[in-house]
């Protein structure tokens, strides 16, 4: 009478039966999340993956000058390459000329050798007519840039489909002729300062929204619902106003003879109009205005859930109002603060139209540069590298944040 396993009515062990049912349940659940999963893979993971790849994979030179890069493999990079490499180059250029891809080659080389684009195009027209060796002397005579060893070093590096250039350039570094990583010349080193500026502006705006938003959130949470809702509409107004209208409004307020300056001059605070717009101040004010609801709402919704009895208890146990507020109330709002600040900070990293319109000459943020590289220059390698570094920096900051605040503590309401 000691059966090994309990059997169900149709003789299958109960355990097995249970497993099968569970599996079916799991598959059902999986089936429900599958559409979202596929959507995320296609619309998020894959594009971002491709984008990150673009920042260090670039087969451009290899595809356009296949014979030349092969012929340059053995070259030591000291003197000009041998005749055989030039012969391969001439053959490659002829193919490019036929396919109409010379401009692409010029564009690709121009990323690393400024000014070579049109020169390659002009040289290609002449190279097309070359059919007798020696090619080396002829090509060198045609275009002085092709007589530079450095040009050939760049082409030689194109043999590998991996290039560190985009990422290095995005950090104001570059490879010199000997293959060493060196700093960009000072007059072209701009990206590091743009990154720092982006972080600094985002941080300032986050703090400003917190300082301004926290008391308002408290007020909203403690007012009768009807009044609170009315006030909430005011808080949400910037949400519903178009970006351009908002920006124009700031213009009217902040310009040299605008309302704000006239008011300050009338008060005698200042004699000359202050530089309120086209400056860092203008950028931060305008961004804070837009971001305020993002910081405020999570704090507000967390505050709504805090029972007033805690404060009452603290007070009845003898804590003063400030002490009770700081020690009892504020720690409970921390998850809201954490969520709101994180949201605002990350959204701030992506701003570029607002700084462009109300900011000064040194308020360009990194997203603006990425958009230009993407739309204007079609230099997706550069755009990807800048994006990858921004993403990396954001992830690092997020980890630090997690350490400090604890991401489990983040609550949206």
């Amino acid at each position: 009478m000691t059966s090994a396993a309990e059997l169900t009515i149709d003789g299958v062990p109960l355990k097995q039966r249970l497993k099968r049912t569970e599996l079916r349940q799991k598959l059902k659940a999986l089936g429900l999340v599958l559409p979202l999963f596929i959507f995320i893979i296609f619309s998020f993971v894959m594009p971002i993956g491709t984008l990150l790849m673009n920042s260090f994979v670039d087969p451009g030179i290899r595809n356009l000058l296949p014979a030349t890069v092969e012929a340059l493999v053995e070259w030591d990079g000291k003197d000009l390459p041998p005749e055989s490499a030039f012969a391969a180059f001439v053959a490659d250029i002829k193919i490019n000329q036929q396919n109409g891809t010379v401009p692409l080659l010029g564009k690709r080389l121009n990323y690393e050798i400024s000014g070579i684009r049109s020169k390659i195009q002009n040289a290609a027209k002449k190279i097309e007519k070359l059919d007798q060796p020696p090619f080396k002397s002829a090509v060198i005579a045609m275009e002085p840039m092709l007589a530079n060893t450095s040009t050939w070093v760049i082409i030689q590096r194109g043999h590998s489909i991996f290039t560190p250039n985009y990422l290095l350039n995005a950090l104001d570094l570059k490879l010199d002729e000997a293959g060493q990583v060196v700093a960009m010349p000072e007059d072209r080193a701009i990206y590091k300062s743009i990154y720092l500026r982006t972080l600094l502006i985002s941080l300032t705006v986050t703090l400003a929204t917190l300082v301004l938003g926290y008391p308002v959130a408290w007020l909203l949470a403690n007012l009768p619902t009807r009044t609170a809702n009315l006030l909430l509409i005011f808080v949400l107004l910037p949400f519903w106003t178009s970006l351009l209208v908002r920006t124009t409004a700031w213009f009217v307020l902040l310009q040299d003879n605008g309302a704000m300056n006239e008011f300050l001059i009338a008060l005698g605070v200042t004699n000359e109009p202050l530089k309120l717009i086209f400056s860092r101040f203008g950028t931060i004010v305008a961004m804070t205005h837009i971001q305020l609801p993002f910081t405020l709402l999570p704090i507000y919704s967390v505050m709504k859930t805090i029972s007033p009895s805690y404060m009452r208890a603290a007070r009845s146990l003898g804590a003063g109002p400030t002490y009770a507020f700081v020690k009892v109330y504020m720690p409970q709002t921390l998850p809201g603060i954490a969520a709101g600040c994180l949201l605002t900070f990350i959204l701030c990293l992506g701003y570029y139209i607002t700084p462009a319109l109300v900011g000064g000459p040194t308020d360009q943020m990194v997203s603006g540069v990425i958009a230009d590289a993407m739309n204007r220059d079609l230099n997706w390698g550069k755009a990807s590298a800048l994006g990858a570094i921004l993403l990396g920096a954001t992830i690092i900051l997020y980890l630090v944040y997690d350490r400090l605040v604890g991401i489990d503590n983040v609550k949206l309401g």
């Binding site: 401009p103 564009k107 400024s114 000014g115 080193a189 701009i190 462009a356």
Partner: protein, 346 residues
């Protein structure tokens, strides 16, 4: 039997009608007052003359937009209005077609700047000019170099936040001949010289980015003189009655062109449209609606006498004009823009 053939005839007729209706051309342009002028001078008259329907849309001259259409094989647009640098880039990418003037039935030599573009037919020429508020600046500035003269003409000035045109102006104001500008700017010393000249006014400069900003900055009294695209200032003077005046001295000329993407669905209609919009009559007509210069040289003679003086291509205004070199900027744009950004940050 009779009935059946009748039915076939009807069907065939219906098919013909539907193909005739399907004749259309999709055009993408820059929007605003500019596209309105194109509607009046080109789109509507073209529909009337040929029966081909014009379906228009707006874009922001994003190269990525053309590229994504062509690369994905889903080319929706048949004709693009493009600015000069975008044209060169798109041509280099091989995503727009080379122009065959003979097939279009146009005479290449009639178009100002046609040699600069393999892949586009020049349509308008606009001027990078300076403009000032006549009520604020006395004496009034008369030449471009006055912008760099802070003593005689004190006050804030606005420049575009871009090295294009600014570096050229700086060199010309510093004594470089117009014809030599790009040669000088092609050297490191030349670039240094241009930035040094810009340094002299840097503290007084407000930088603008959107074309609508310059007239606004002038109207608000934020600056006393500004660089701008001539059409924007013209509108402010004529439509909003602002007391502005354009300094035509040393204006920089730049182009918009018509171009066709590779794989355009309505290629024939697109070519018909480009030929139509490039005619002297139609181009002269466009000047009634916007103050940009027609690229077709023959159009100048057909422009109304009271409109001509406000156009960048009017003989009087062309005397000291120079042409923005799209080829120079696509060669050196990346490097100079980086240099410009780092100079701004200093």
């Amino acid at each position: 039997m009779k009935n059946i053939s009748l039915a076939f005839a009807l069907l065939a007729g219906a098919a013909m009608v539907s193909t005739a209706q399907a004749q259309q051309v999709n055009i993408l342009s820059g929007g605003g007052a500019y596209q309105e002028s194109q509607q009046k001078a080109y789109f509507k008259p073209f529909e009337k003359a040929t029966g081909i329907k014009v379906v228009e849309d707006e874009y922001n001259f994003e190269l990525a937009k053309i590229k994504s259409e062509v690369d994905s094989g889903a080319v929706k647009t048949d004709v693009f209005d493009l600015d000069a640098p975008t044209t060169l880039q798109a041509c280099a990418e091989g995503i727009i077609e080379k122009v065959d003037y003979a097939k279009l039935g146009l005479d290449k030599s009639k178009f100002i700047g046609a040699d600069r573009f393999d892949c586009g037919v020049p349509t308008i020429i606009y001027g990078y000019v300076f403009a000032f508020d006549t009520t604020k600046l006395k004496p009034a500035p008369t030449k471009m170099a006055d912008v760099f003269d802070l003593k005689t003409f004190p006050g804030k000035r606005a420049l575009q936040k871009s090295p294009v045109a600014n570096l050229e102006w700086a060199l010309i104001a510093d004594g470089v001949a117009r014809e030599e500008v790009y040669k000088v700017l092609g050297t490191k010393e030349g670039v240094d010289r241009a930035f040094k000249k810009l340094d002299t006014i840097k503290s007084q400069v407000v930088w603008w980015e959107a074309g609508a900003q310059p007239p606004q900055l002038l109207a608000d009294g934020q600056v006393v003189i500004t660089s701008a695209w001539n059409g924007r200032i013209f509108n402010a003077i004529k439509k909003d009655n602002k007391p502005f005046k354009i300094i035509w001295d040393n204006q920089g000329l730049d182009w918009d062109v018509w171009a066709m993407p590779k794989g355009a669905k309505n290629r024939d209609a697109a070519m018909k449209f480009i030929a139509f919009a490039s005619g002297a009559e139609t181009q002269a007509d466009q000047t009634n609606y916007i103050s940009y210069g027609p690229a077709n040289k023959d159009a100048i003679a057909k422009i109304k006498a009271d409109i001509l003086p406000d156009l960048p291509t009017a003989p009087e205004n062309m005397k000291t004009a120079w042409e923005v070199d799209p080829s120079f900027w696509s060669d050196n744009g990346d490097e100079l823009r980086e240099r410009f950004s780092s100079w701004l940050a200093k």
